[in-house]
């Protein structure tokens, strides 16, 4: 049993290391400090990925910021307002689960019609982030919901018994207790946002110039990798270099979020 667990874990680790090594070997020659900051030229065959990194960070930041309040509201709806209505609560949870598995191409098309055409934002980082937020919100909401449901009911009832309001109990006890799950939800969502292509090809475009504001179009790293690999002849090694940059950015963001993740407190251990 122990051997099986260790070998499975080692297999996943080796697979990840091999993937990283493969990307590094194929695209390593392109990786210079200037590559991460320089402008894209010749369709990506030369120059750097500076504007793409900026677009990526803007889209991920905006999408997370748009999705976060929706996700928190959705999770709180289930755990606080529908707490005594199991049927409604189950319906909302099922809706989140269905939305999480919605095909990203379909979401991209809907986002393009809504934000690009109806609201007139066209191909822009804003359209991309707003559409992406619809994909991230249910993902985060489910993680938050699981975290909030894991907070012992006794914590709530014993706080209420001391005369605290439901709101104070939520803000001062329940949310801090669920913080590890909330951070994990944000980490999952950021990872998903960094890796997403179909939605962003259809909404924020494939332009690689430096965006002047959030209403400019701009390709994210994942879109740039896809574009170099499929649409730019001779762009393969550059695609691998950009993929490496994507992995580095992803690991960097995840590490940053992990620093805010408090230790997991075992509330029930002593109760």
């Amino acid at each position: 049993m122990k051997f099986a667990v260790f070998s499975s874990a080692a297999f996943v680790f080796v697979l990840f290391a091999l993937m990283l090594l493969d990307i590094l070997v194929r695209g390593g020659a392109e990786l210079t400090p200037q590559y991460f900051t320089g402008a894209v030229s010749d369709g990506g065959r030369s120059g750097g990925i500076g504007p793409v990194v900026v677009s990526t960070l803007l889209v991920v930041l905006m999408a997370t910021a748009f999705a976060l309040p929706l996700a928190v509201a959705g999770a709180l709806l289930c755990t606080e307002l529908l707490v005594h209505r199991p049927a409604s609560r189950q319906l909302v949870r099922r809706s989140f689960e269905i939305l999480v598995s919605a095909p990203s191409v379909a979401v991209g098309l809907i986002g393009w019609s809504l934000f690009g055409q109806v609201f007139g934002f066209g191909f822009s980082l804003f359209s991309g982030a707003a559409t992406l937020a619809f994909m991230l919100a249910p993902l985060m909401a489910l993680a938050f919901l699981n975290g909030l449901e894991a907070v012992p009911q006794a914590l709530r009832s014993q706080s209420l018994a001391l005369g605290l309001t439901r709101w104070d109990t939520l803000v001062y006890l329940v949310l801090p207790a669920a913080r590890p799950a909330l951070v994990a939800g944000v980490m999952l969502a950021v990872g998903r946002a960094l890796a997403e292509t179909a939605v962003l090809v259809l909404t924020s475009g494939v332009t690689t110039r430096m965006p002047e504001d959030i209403f400019d179009p701009g390709a994210t790293l994942a879109v740039h990798v896809y574009n170099l690999a499929h649409n730019v002849p001779g762009g393969e090694s550059r695609a691998y270099a950009a993929a490496f940059a994507l992995v580095v950015v992803n690991i960097g963001v995840q590490l940053l979020l992990t620093r805010w993740k408090p230790r997991l407190a075992n509330q029930e251990a002593t109760s």
């Binding site: 914590l155 009832s157 209420l160 001391l162 005369g163 509330q267 002593t270």
Partner: protein, 289 residues
């Protein structure tokens, strides 16, 4: 003085308490005794209006504290919970240290200054006998007994008029129980302490008055009240006698009580659990007991 008048509680499709009448004094220790499932905890929860957070419970009747109906619409549940403190059977550690746990409700439910909060928290922690070294320790690292005392300190820091304790000695070692008994006696000098317990030793040592509740098929009611010496040594009602004998003498006592049960409308007054014990061989049941 707290007065339960015609308190009726329905929950999960059954009658838990039926028109319960109970009067408790201003100070001292009142113990509620009775078989498991006879609504003692529900009674405590109703007193602080916790039933309002549980849609499965329907409560009617009144609970008066010094003449004010605590269940009246104009009285907020938060105000009730500041007058009546409840120490649950299994306290949960709030995030943070012991000190954070005790100051938590003071910070969020009162308008006391920082100095006043510190004074109250210090007094509460000293009252429950927790050493200063424990005050800085993470509450989720405390032992069961220490956590119980933290829960008591959390409640008494708010200076409630009435303190309700649900099975306080449950899971504590004998020394911890003795410390708890001393604490209960001290606390009851200035306020009413209501204990729900199955621990007759604890009852005998701390109670000023004992109320015995029994689960009749149409709901639980108080069948006998009096001084602990009377209820625990010479109970008048057969139900009380059965319960007390079972506690002192074990399962064998249930056989001896057989005749007594005949006098107490046997089929109606005997809860199912006891009937099972009565009809089975006690030797088989003893290891499980």
């Amino acid at each position: 003085m707290i007065h339960f008048k015609k308190l009726t509680v329905r929950g999960c499709g059954q009658m838990i308490l039926r028109e319960l009448e109970l009067t408790l004094p201003d100070r001292g220790t009142a113990v509620l005794l009775g078989p498991s499932g006879c609504g003692k905890t529900t009674l405590l929860r109703s007193a602080i209006r916790e039933d309002e957070d549980d849609p499965d419970l329907e409560v009617s009747g009144t609970i008066e504290l010094n003449g004010v109906d605590l269940r009246a619409k104009f009285v907020s549940p938060l105000a009730v919970r500041q007058k009546i403190g409840l120490i649950p059977q299994r306290p949960v550690a709030f995030p943070g240290t012991t000190w954070d746990n005790v100051t938590f409700a003071l910070k969020h439910t009162t308008r006391l200054s920082k100095q006043e909060i510190e004074l109250r928290a210090r007094a509460a922690l000293e009252e429950v006998g927790l050493e200063e070294e424990v005050w800085k320790r993470e509450a989720d690292c405390l032992s069961g007994g220490q956590l119980k005392r933290v829960a008591i300190a959390r409640a008494i820091a708010l200076e409630p008029e009435v303190l309700l304790m649900d099975e306080p000695s449950n899971g504590l070692d004998p020394l911890a129980v003795v410390r708890l008994e001393r604490l209960i006696v001290r606390l009851s000098e200035h306020r009413l302490v209501v204990l729900v317990t199955h621990d007759l030793h604890l009852t005998r040592r701390v109670a000023n008055v004992v109320h015995f509740l029994w689960p009749f098929p149409d709901g639980c009611r108080v069948v006998e009240s009096g001084a602990p010496e009377k209820i625990l040594e010479v109970p008048a009602r057969p139900e009380t006698k059965l319960f007390v004998q079972a506690a002192w003498e074990g399962a064998a006592a249930l056989y001896e009580s057989d005749d007594e049960l005949e006098d107490c409308e046997a089929e109606e007054c005997m809860p199912r659990r006891m009937r099972l014990v009565h009809e089975s061989n006690p030797r088989e049941l003893l290891p499980e007991e």
